[in-house]
């Protein structure tokens, strides 16, 4: 039985989305494997529209009977809802970009033994090279997704993709000093995940972290690493390029398309097909063709991200950025893989030229930033003090400011980039900002 056809008995338009996820993972804790897991989840979402009233049902199943029942419940919800006069319809048939995406299907058959061994080797090496280090947490594993989006206007798109991941969270304890947790990670679209880069980076930072220094300054040049940069931008900048906010006039970027907003060194785009992306979708969660959307080009604001609802209202159309929440079944607006274009200077050289400044690996409290204004007040931790071109110790300080001011003050961008999957998918370089105001927390 064609479920879409069945749904059309109840709705003017209907969309059925089925998400399947399989993951194998190994968690580590206290220098050993804590747990190994295999989880599978299938979720179906029915989103229908009757007389411009929306009704949604989400169920942990892809069973035909459950989906039929779900269609009927969604129809009742639509009946209870109110008319949305601005609704213009679900998207129609799409032409999807013929992109060549290398999928490594061998990921799906990786055994937990492979990830246990990866974690074991990493922990052995860390403990061998630093007797004061404790692997407090971490994980390795793979995730594989199969998503199918269908609607009554002819969309029927099935996509699958996945990736492997490995991260460790290490704490050092020497004398009275307990270091902050030092994190590093690797995420790949294939099965060639290794421990070396993660282990080396953590051990290097741990050595600096034992030497706690007071910040002793109220202003400085600050090099922000990819994870910290992503933490800040996902909570301050990404909401501002959401098209819904443009329509509602609640973003500082409303009516500023074409204006220079940031330093001309800053180019930001959403690119699901970037070589490092682990989210290489050809369609968004409404089935609209995904694409590479430039958001800032050399500091100039090029445009907002849209799903079909707000894109239709604005007249700009969807940019293929409809993202579904599986907690509500609703479609919001988001990035598939947010990229800040890398620069052309080695990170080591950037550090080498800093006479006095700081390196920030992560922020505490980026989620408490104000998405409406871009204001933030966060704690840099782990953070490191740089003197005469060398890292000399760790420190903790507060950094308060506004993302629109910060991104005007870009001094350098590194020629390396890192895949980020926390908060959202992205690829970020390191960026050096000049004359940033801070308040010391470490004494």
């Amino acid at each position: 039985m064609n479920l879409i056809r069945y749904g059309e008995k109840f709705f003017d338009e209907i969309e059925i989305a089925i998400y399947r996820k399989r993951n194998v993972g190994v968690d580590v804790e206290l220098n050993q494997v804590a747990l190994s897991s295999l989880s599978e989840r299938t979720v179906s979402v029915i989103r229908g529209m009757k007389d411009k009233r929306i009704g949604i049902y989400v169920v942990d199943s892809d069973d035909e009977g459950e989906i039929r029942k779900g269609i009927e419940i969604a129809a009742k919800n639509a009946k209870n809802n109110e008319r949305d006069e601005r609704w213009q319809g679900l998207p129609g048939e799409q032409k999807y970009e013929d992109v060549s995406i290398d999928l490594d299907y061998s990921i799906k058959s990786l055994s937990p033994d492979f990830f246990v061994e990866l974690a074991n080797e990493a922990m052995r090496e860390i403990n061998k090279r630093d007797k004061n280090a404790m692997v407090a947490g971490g994980a390795s594993g793979f995730q594989w997704f199969e998503n199918r989006i269908m609607n009554s206007h002819g969309i029927d798109v099935l996509q699958e993709f996945g990736g492997t991941f490995f991260y460790l969270f290490v704490v050092g304890r020497k004398g009275n000093v307990v270091t902050p947790g030092i994190v590093d990670f690797e995420v790949r679209r294939d099965s060639k995940i290794t421990k070396d880069a993660v282990v080396n980076s953590i051990l290097e930072k741990l050595q600096y972290a034992y030497n706690v220094k007071g910040a002793n300054k109220t202003e400085g040049n600050i090099l922000i690493e990819p994870l910290a940069l992503a933490e800040l931008l996902y909570f301050t900048l990404l909401p501002a390029v959401n098209g819904e906010r443009k329509v509602k006039n609640t973003t500082p970027l409303a009516n500023r398309v074409g204006e220079r907003i940031f330093s001309e060194k800053i180019t930001i785009y959403d690119d699901p097909w970037h070589p490092m992306s682990t989210n290489p979708v050809i369609a968004d969660d409404e089935g609209v063709a995904a694409r590479r959307n430039v958001i800032f080009d050399k500091g100039v604001f090029k445009g907002f991200l849209w799903n079909s609802y707000w894109g239709n209202i604005s007249g700009e159309g969807s940019t293929g950025n409809g993202i579904r929440s599986l907690s509500t079944g609703g479609i919001g607006i988001g990035a598939h893989n947010l990229v800040i274009e890398k620069g052309n200077k080695r990170k080591e050289d950037i550090i080498g030229e800093i006479e006095e400044g700081f390196l920030i690996s992560a922020f505490q409290g980026a989620h408490s930033s104000n998405p409406d204004t871009g204001d933030f007040s966060v704690v840099a931790n782990p953070a490191f003090k740089i003197e005469n071109g060398e890292i000399v110790g760790s420190t903790v300080f507060m950094m308060s400011g506004n993302v629109y001011e910060l991104l005007k003050n870009v001094e350098e961008i590194s020629d390396t980039e890192k895949k980020i999957v926390m908060m959202g998918n992205g690829v970020f370089p390191d960026i050096l900002f000049r004359d940033v105001k801070i308040a010391p927390v470490s004494k």
Binding site: V26, V28, N31, Q32, L35, S36, S37, L38, S39, E40, R41, I54, Y57, V58, V59, D60, S61, A74, N77, N80, E82, D84, R86, P112, D113, V116, N120, M123, M134, A136, V171, V178, P180, G181, T250, S325, S327, T328, G329, G330, Q364, G365, H367, S368, N370, D372, T373, D375, S377, V378, V379, V396, M398, S400, G401, N402, A439, P440, V441, S442
Partner: protein, 456 residues
């Protein structure tokens, strides 16, 4: 075949030290009202099983949302445990608990399923209308969610617990605009013990007035001066400091890597300071048993200034040589239980609010928060969404877009007075998984140890 038959089958056929099946079947209603439109009007049915197996001294976990695959899931969890055992140098041991067979019934007077959808919708519309009466409000987002269903825990040790799983929850995000620019405010309420009757106490006017106070404080606020100043924190801020700065360090899986590890039994705060994770009236983290079947009991984290107890699951209780105290919680069947807080509160003292302000020439009064985060070196950060300057012992102008930070074990030493009032805040904590929690306490004064972030 039912879950009882499956666990009996597993006991016979799986060579494990311990097998645990957690099952859920929960129906939810999720409605979102954004600026006059309900873009999500959703029913959800969440059902499935999470299986944890302890074999060869290691944990394996598997989950499925199909009952017919439950046996396979147990076999998978066993295979996972065997794989994990190659990564361990010591075997996992579980502290003993009293094995119970029990049913935990909802205390709600009016379960959300007994309330007509139209009434839920009308209440949200009334609330939005009330909020939009204020000329500063540029955009409103109101999310309502309720849940009703059952949760079970069956273990190879004989634990059989069936819970009613009900809650109501509401989240509001308000964006405001005036001549100074944009500002925003959030508000969150919820309960697992109080049902629809929650919204009789938290009526439209109460919520709207509270929201507008926060929004106006932000809209009209001045940028604070960054630096270390005396702080008087209200119950909601005191609660989030209890939660972020201290509570996380007292979760045994984090304690073990934090400064708290070596401080148990030692004085870490003035003797008039006590802090607990305990059952409180209408606490969002209340329960009778945790997700390992351990009876939940009060944990006196700081008693008269001494770091006394930490929060434990069965594994960490064995590791620390202590008794489990009911803090193993899982967000849902898809994830294994981990150590979590429930309701983390500072206990009352005997100062009036006016006495707390006395003698402060310049400082800050922080009332409500927007997010917070802690680190293992006891550094904490809490975003401030409602705060004021204290000038010459009196509350003066409001401040905007700031946060406070400190090193918790240092800041604790500088608590100089504890108020005689008490307040509680409902929220969610993210530690890889989301958990409903409460936090609160009385007003408190920190003379030093807390840094205020600011663009001045």
């Amino acid at each position: 075949m039912d879950v009882e038959d499956v666990i009996k089958w597993a006991e016979k056929n799986i060579e494990a030290e311990y097998i645990e099946i957690r099952g859920e079947e929960i129906s939810k209603m999720n409605i979102e009202l954004k600026d006059g439109i309900f873009p999500t009007f959703t029913s959800l049915k969440l059902s499935g099983f999470g299986v944890r197996v302890l074999a060869k001294g290691a944990w394996g976990f598997s989950s499925t949302n199909r009952f017919e695959k439950l046996k396979e899931s147990i076999e998978n969890a066993y295979k996972m445990a065997k794989a994990a055992s190659y990564g361990r140098y010591e075997e996992v041991e579980l502290a003993d608990i009293k094995i119970v067979e029990d049913e935990v019934r909802s205390k709600m007077k009016i379960k959300p399923t007994q309330v007509d959808v139209d009434e839920k919708v009308e209440r949200m519309k009334d609330l939005e209308k009330k909020l939009k009466e204020a000329k500063e409000v540029a955009s409103t987002q109101i999310r309502y969610e309720d849940a009703s269903g059952k949760k079970i825990l069956y273990t190879s040790e004989g634990t059989r617990i069936v819970w009613d799983m009900d809650y109501v929850w509401q989240y509001i995000w308000l964006t405001g605009k005036n001549e100074k620019g944009f500002a925003s405010a959030r508000d969150e309420i919820g309960s697992v013990d109080v049902g629809w009757e929650l919204f009789q106490e938290e009526d439209v006017d109460t919520i709207a007035n509270r929201m507008m106070k926060k929004l106006r404080a932000q809209l009209n606020g001045v940028q604070p001066k960054r630096g270390e100043y005396p702080i008087v924190a209200g119950p909601i801020m005191v609660g989030i400091i209890a939660h972020e700065a201290l509570g996380h360090l007292a979760e045994a899986d984090l304690t073990i890597n934090s400064p708290f590890r070596d401080l148990i039994g030692k004085k870490i705060a003035p003797e008039f300071v006590s802090m607990s994770d305990r059952i409180v009236e209408n606490g969002f983290g209340n329960n009778v048993y945790d997700d390992e079947g351990t009876k939940v009991r009060d944990v006196h984290i700081i008693k008269n200034g001494i770091l006394t107890e930490i929060m434990l699951n069965r594994e960490y209780a064995a590791k620390f040589g202590m008794e489990p105290n009911g803090h193993a919680r899982a967000e849902n069947y898809m994830v294994p239980p981990i150590i979590r807080m429930r309701n983390t509160v500072f206990e009352k003292g005997d100062y009036s609010f006016e006495e707390l302000l006395e003698g402060i020439k310049f400082g800050y009064y922080v009332v409500d928060f927007r997010g917070g985060q802690a680190e293992l070196n006891s550094s904490f950060q809490v975003g401030v969404q409602e705060g004021y300057i204290i000038r010459n012992g009196e509350i003066a102008e409001s401040i905007r877009d700031t946060s406070i930070s400190g090193i918790a074990i240092e800041a604790l030493k500088h608590i100089s007075a504890v108020g005689k009032d008490f307040g509680l805040e409902m929220g969610r904590c993210g530690k890889g998984q989301t958990a409903f929690v409460s936090s609160g306490g009385p007003h408190m004064r920190f003379d030093k140890g807390i840094v205020v972030g600011g663009q001045q």
